[in-house]
Amino acid sequence: KDDFVGHQVLRISAANEAQVQKVVELEELEHLQLDFWRGPGQPGSPIDLRVPFPSLQAVKVFLEAHGIKYTIMIDDVQTLLDEEEEQMTAFKTR
């Protein structure tokens, strides 16, 4: 199974169309392996982005450099996946 240790999900708040376009630019950078959980839409509507650990620094620098606000929605994706897996395994064991 693929693991997502260190992957974070960022909640990005693009304040205007220009900032939305900046985030759209990120989408084109395939080497970052970004996964939009909620894609760029109207300014003000949240954009949720899963960022692999190796790309985290670059993405955060990019957002901060363009004054685009973000929060960390999920600190480590693998932690949630492990909890989900444990729950399913416990059920099967029972």
Partner: protein
Amino acid sequence: AASTDTFNYNVYHNLDEIYGFMDMLVAEHPGLVSKLEIGKTYEARPIYVLKFSTGGNNRPAIWIDTGIHSREWVTQASGIWFAKKITQDYGNDPGLTAILDSMDIFLEIVTNPDGFVFTHKKNRLWRKTRSLTAGSSCVGVDPNRNWDAGFGKTGASSNPCTETYHGKFANSESEVKSIVDFVKSHGNFKAYISIHSYSQLLLYPYGYTKDPAADDAELEGLAKSAVTALASLYGTKYKYGSIFKAIYVASGSSIDWAYNQGIKYSFTFELRDTGRYGFLLPASQIVPTAQETWLGLQTIMNYTRTHLY
């Protein structure tokens, strides 16, 4: 599980367990539930639809699908709960009984089986189908960009390596074409509801154009009623609107195709949550999510029954 009464609705299940549940439900309610195979996936898995019918011939019908995006696990889990709920409520709940006394309900619980198996075995966050694209090392097509409605326009990607890749041509995915052929051959669907997660939205056409649908005002009014009913249980707040207005331009979507087929009451639900767990919603929230969504579904189904066209 020995029966659908002892089946555990509070945990996530894999494909075999869900298909096993479907067989149990059919065996327990042979006069109400039947299982149809409408096609095969790219990897040759059967695609099953549950039909809930109390008789008649080609009655006006309601389509509900869950799990077209495989990682949205709370939707398939909710679909299981809906199936059980229908069998429990028929004969007991006047609203649902009235619907099934004059209409049929078709429910496809695992609409992207290949992708769903892949989320269990390899990549929990897989969204697309598992078809191979000639000339590309990337796998899969976004099954909700592959429908013949604004296909290939803005709001989908032509790059096979992206999550919103629309595929080489409309209905290229057998998971999509199976539904298209089934709905067209049935010819009497009056409502089409596709269930996704997440972000707590109730959406209606269009996504591929900002032009409002001909029935925009009616769809908006019905969406408002549905989200009000949904919120009445746990206070879960939904927004509603056309795909284009509420979120972004999205082409090739199932409900745009359904609406253009003349199925007026076409909606997409985006279930919980708004941004704490995303696709990784804890299993403890499956049943509450299904319960509240059912109230929204019932609003749409009741309205459809009393506003046949």
